[in-house]
């Protein structure tokens, strides 16, 4: 790695970073707008349904029960697909098992209908085509544009500095924000996670503001201690893990709010947090966040070990309880506790969400305070 610095390109990079930040700001506003309008629509639909129900003098409690069952549907696997009208009769949802005549459907299956849609794979998170959400569409589209601007800013900075763009706080923040946005956009392809949009775009915005306002650093070459391919491996996986943890953090916060709302509704009380209508049930959130966190945890485990290997090469010991190492270890242990919480009676649900939040707080602490305020071998913050 030489030290051929391209100052012009570096300046372009900074301009694009600002442009991206402004676009994210608009994205954030659009997402918030969408949450407001979408949850209002859902609220109106809910009210209309309730009116109809009252009018037809049906016993509402059965419907209520079904709704509750529906909340657990993510893993109970109630079928909802159009083609496969298999009667759902799982342990919890057996109430929904309709009694019909002996196989009269007469519809033979063919190997062509391999559709596994609606088979319980977090179906609550699948896109539904009935709801029109123009503000969300605008938000996602703008976010793609912001991501492209942002990606250009990060890549051009790397090219300008002739090395990977993650060697000081400015770059950790801006590249980290790019990864968060990227992970989010990729999951959006598969699942309707637009309800975390306000939080994710908000966090990305905060990271970019931190980078440009709190840690501005001009393009610079690498110190000898950082010149290693381990910088590429170790830091990129760490940033990827942090990106995942950012999204699951947002989901954990929503999970806590949602479970409070669910409890209130179950007691027949009103909930003031109407926007949560646009958010899936707390159980769905918990389960999906757990899948993402498992990947994040594997990445973090790798980060920890890769850091140890790098430390072994650079400083001659693989573990020396340097401040950064301590906090990386703390993060790892908290998430290990989270993994256990999921299978420990009394520790799942809200408590596991709190653990995920605590873990993320440690990640943030590790990236900000430890990098800037604590002395240590990792003081490469460029400040």
């Amino acid at each position: 790695m030489g030290s051929d610095i391209n100052v012009t390109l570096g300046n372009w990079s900074e301009w694009f970073m600002l442009l991206a930040a402004m676009t994210y700001m608009v994205v954030f506003v659009a997402f918030v707008w969408d949450m407001a309008s979408h949850s209002k629509t859902l609220g109106m639909q809910e009210a209309a349904r309730a009116r109809r129900r009252n009018a037809s003098a049906q016993d509402a409690s059965a419907d209520g029960a079904r709704e509750l069952v529906g909340a657990g549907a993510a893993h109970a696997g109630a079928s909802g697909g159009a083609g496969s009208s298999v009667a759902a009769s799982s342990g919890t949802a057996s109430a929904g098992g309709t009694t019909t005549d002996t196989g009269v459907s007469g519809e033979f299956r063919t190997s062509a209908d391999r559709s596994t849609r609606g088979a319980g794979e977090f179906e609550a998170l699948n896109y539904s085509h009935s709801a029109r959400r123009p503000a969300a569409r605008v938000a996602v589209m703008l976010m793609v544009i912001a991501f492209a601007l942002h990606a250009f800013a990060v890549v051009s900075r790397g090219v300008a500095a002739d090395r990977v763009p993650w060697a000081n706080m400015y770059e950790f923040c801006s590249t980290g924000a790019l990864v968060v946005a990227g992970v989010y956009l990729v999951t959006l392809v598969f699942k309707d996670l637009r309800f975390v949009g306000p939080m994710v775009s908000g966090l990305v915005l905060i990271m970019l503001c931190l980078a440009t306002i709190a840690f501005p650093t001009p393009v610079s070459p690498l110190q000898p201690a950082l010149q290693s391919y381990w910088l590429i491996i170790h830091v990129s996986i760490a940033v990827a893990a942090s990106g995942i943890f950012t999204i699951t953090f947002a989901m954990a916060v929503l999970q806590l709010l949602q479970s409070r709302r669910e409890k209130r509704l179950a007691l027949g009380e009103e909930s003031r947090m109407g926007f949560l209508r646009a958010v899936p049930s707390s159980v769905t959130l918990e389960n999906f966040a757990f899948r993402l966190n498992s990947v994040g945890f594997v990445f973090w485990t790798f980060t920890l070990a890769a850091g140890a290997i790098w430390a072994d090469q650079a400083w001659g010991r693989f573990w020396g309880w340097d401040t950064k190492e301590v906090w990386t270890f703390v993060v790892w242990t908290v998430y290990a506790a989270y993994m256990h919480a999921r299978v420990t009676r009394g520790w799942n649900g809200n408590r596991s969400a709190w653990l995920a939040i605590a873990g993320y707080m440690c990640v943030v602490f590790n990236f900000t305070v430890v990098n800037t305020l604590f002395p240590g071998l990792h003081s490469y913050s460029g400040l």
């Binding site: 696997g77 079928s79 009667a87 033979f108 070459p221 072994d312 001659g316 299978v343 009676r345």
Partner: protein, 559 residues
């Protein structure tokens, strides 16, 4: 997600209610059961995380003993108390050790029964088909046969083909009740998930043991080597040496390293003034002799590229300048000639130098001062270094004479000259000024005919760290095992499936076979429904020509 509980957890639930049995043995058993509970492990993990934090707030002896000493000095009331609570040795403290030892005991107590149980499960056959498959979290029912009047397969035939197909999907299968009216097959897959979990936990234990082995039998040492000099890996040749608790000096492998040259490269990019002069590369050319009598090899040593001599690693951790000086005493004899290692104190390598000359006679001589690699002097000011490169090297020294106190037998820091009992000859503040040596002024006579100092040359030196850690490789291998186990345990799904076939007639009076099947996951498994759909597709592809229909539940199936 709490539905599928392990047998262990069920057992521990019982212990929640049980009153601990009386007697020491009963109490012990009770304590053991509490310790090996999952929630205990979880709390211990959180405690470990919390306990690790103070180590980042207070200076630690493992990092920097000097900083701890100065911290205690600066906080005379709190310091000793913090020290008593072992807050400067967090990671070797009793409380930290207690937490992780309990955690690992808990781990052993947790994993061994689980491993035994899993071993038995592996050897035994998939469990019998339950009476009511319909109770399983995923349940489907299809009818085979009836397309264009084609009859379905016989129940036995259906089960045999289903078993074969399941086996191909990675299930281990156990057909049951063949020949009866309701034959079935029990199937199970993902046995490796639990294997992964066990490997992961055992490997974590192995990591801990490897680290312990390293700290018992390893060593580390430091040595400064000047260009042209060499270092032999023996106890006497080290500047400082820290053996592991059980280390034996006979185990040292006497290889030798000679420093031929050292090169530091600094940023010379004038368009970037902020980083101008920052080091960009350090590189040492050394000659390595693996063991006495071996052929010497020329190798490079750089910051991230240590030498590996049969498992002992040599790291480049520091560098600096070593001015070569010649000191003559009052009698005109050469009392010292050679390089003096200086300690760089800033980014332009302003380096402090200390030289003790005990061989000078009749009075011993001592010097302290600075080496400036690129000295620039403004009028009336002391010269300063403006660049780390060696462009205009200069020495500014104070000189002393008297008894250096080296004969008292007390070990002295070579980088500190105690001037209390010495007589000052030259200094910044004295009337004759300091000794100033540079390219033009090569030699200076000391006052009072005490002798002379001559500035001959500047060499470079490197600081080497030598480490041997026999736990390194085992720790690495254990980590790889743990990582593989983690991935297996997180991303393999463990599922059981049961399929039962019974004979039936469809509405047209054609003999058909009803295939009921259900799935159960170990732990939570959000893809269980997908798997059920896949099985439906599997049956469809097997019996498509005879006709496969969804079969809706009869009221008799409920209850």
């Amino acid at each position: 997600m709490t539905k599928a509980r392990t047998a262990r957890e069920r057992a521990s639930r019982r212990s929640d209610v049980e009153v601990p049995a009386l007697g020491p043995l009963g109490l012990l058993r009770w304590a053991w059961r509490q310790l090996t509970k999952m929630s205990t492990a979880l709390v211990l993990l959180l405690l470990l995380a919390i306990a690790a934090v103070p180590g980042s707030l207070f200076p630690q002896r493992v990092q920097d003993p000097d900083e701890v000493a100065s911290y205690i000095q600066a906080n005379p009331t709190m310091g000793p108390w913090l020290d008593r609570l072992q807050l400067f040795d967090v990671y070797s403290s009793y409380w930290f050790s207690a937490i992780y030892l309990l955690l690992f005991i808990s781990l052993v107590g947790c994993v061994i029964p689980r491993a035994l149980q899993h071993f038995r499960a592996w050897r035994s056959k998939p469990p019998r088909t339950p009476q009511r498959i319909s109770r399983l979290p995923q349940y489907r029912k299809v009818m085979l046969g009836g397309r264009d009047g084609a009859a379905g397969p016989t129940p036995d035939e259906a089960i045999e083909r289903a078993a074969a197909a399941l086996k191909k999907r990675g299930y281990r299968v156990q057909p049951q009740d063949l020949g009866s009216a309701a034959p079935s097959v029990a199937a199970e897959r993902g046995m490796l998930k639990e294997v992964g979990n066990i490997i992961f936990h055992v490997a974590l234990l192995a990591v801990l043991i490897s680290v312990a082995v390293g700290s018992l039998f390893g060593y580390k040492g430091q040595k400064v080597v000047v260009e042209g000099e060499s270092f032999v890996n023996t106890l006497v040749d080290y500047d400082s040496f820290t053996p592991g608790t059980n280390f034996d000096a006979d185990w040292l492998n006497p290889f030798s390293v000679q420093l031929n040259s050292f090169e530091a490269t600094f940023s010379r990019d004038t368009s970037d003034p902020e980083h101008y002069g920052q080091p960009t590369d350090f590189n040492a050319d050394v000659t390595l002799t693996d063991k006495p009598g071996a052929t010497p090899q020329d190798v490079h040593l750089a910051v991230n590229k240590p030498l590996n001599v049969n498992g002992t690693k040599v790291y480049l951790v520091g560098n600096g300048y070593a001015p070569v000086v010649r000191v003559k005493d009052g009698a005109g004899h050469v009392a010292y000639e050679g390089p003096v290692v200086t300690v760089p104190s800033d980014s332009v390598y302003t380096s402090s130098m200390t030289l003790k000359v005990p061989d000078a006679g009749p009075d011993q001589l001592g010097f302290v001062g600075l080496l400036l690699p690129t000295a620039v002097s403004k009028d009336g000011e002391i010269p300063k270094s403006v660049d780390p490169g060696l462009n205009n090297p200069a020495l500014i020294l104070s000189s002393f004479t008297g008894d250096l106190g080296l004969d008292s037998g007390q070990p002295q820091n070579v980088y500190v000259l105690d001037t209390q009992h010495l007589k000052e000859l030259n200094s910044m503040t004295s009337s004759n000024g300091p000794v100033l040596l540079d390219g033009q002024h090569r030699k200076v006579e000391l006052p009072e005919h005490k002798g002379s100092v001559e500035f001959l040359d500047v060499k470079r030196y490197v600081g080497l760290d030598v480490h041997s850690d026999p736990g390194r490789i085992p720790a690495f291998i254990s980590f790889l095992a743990a990582f593989a186990g983690l991935i297996m345990s997180l991303f393999i799904a463990r599922r059981r499936a049961w399929v039962r076939a019974t004979e039936a007639e469809d509405a047209n009076g054609v003999r058909c076979t009803v295939l009921e099947y259900g799935l159960l996951a170990r732990g939570e498994d959000h893809r269980l429904g997908v798997e059920a759909e896949k099985l439906t597709a599997l049956w469809t592809s097997l019996w498509e020509d005879r006709g496969v229909r969804d079969y809706h539940l009869k009221s008799s199936d409920e209850a």
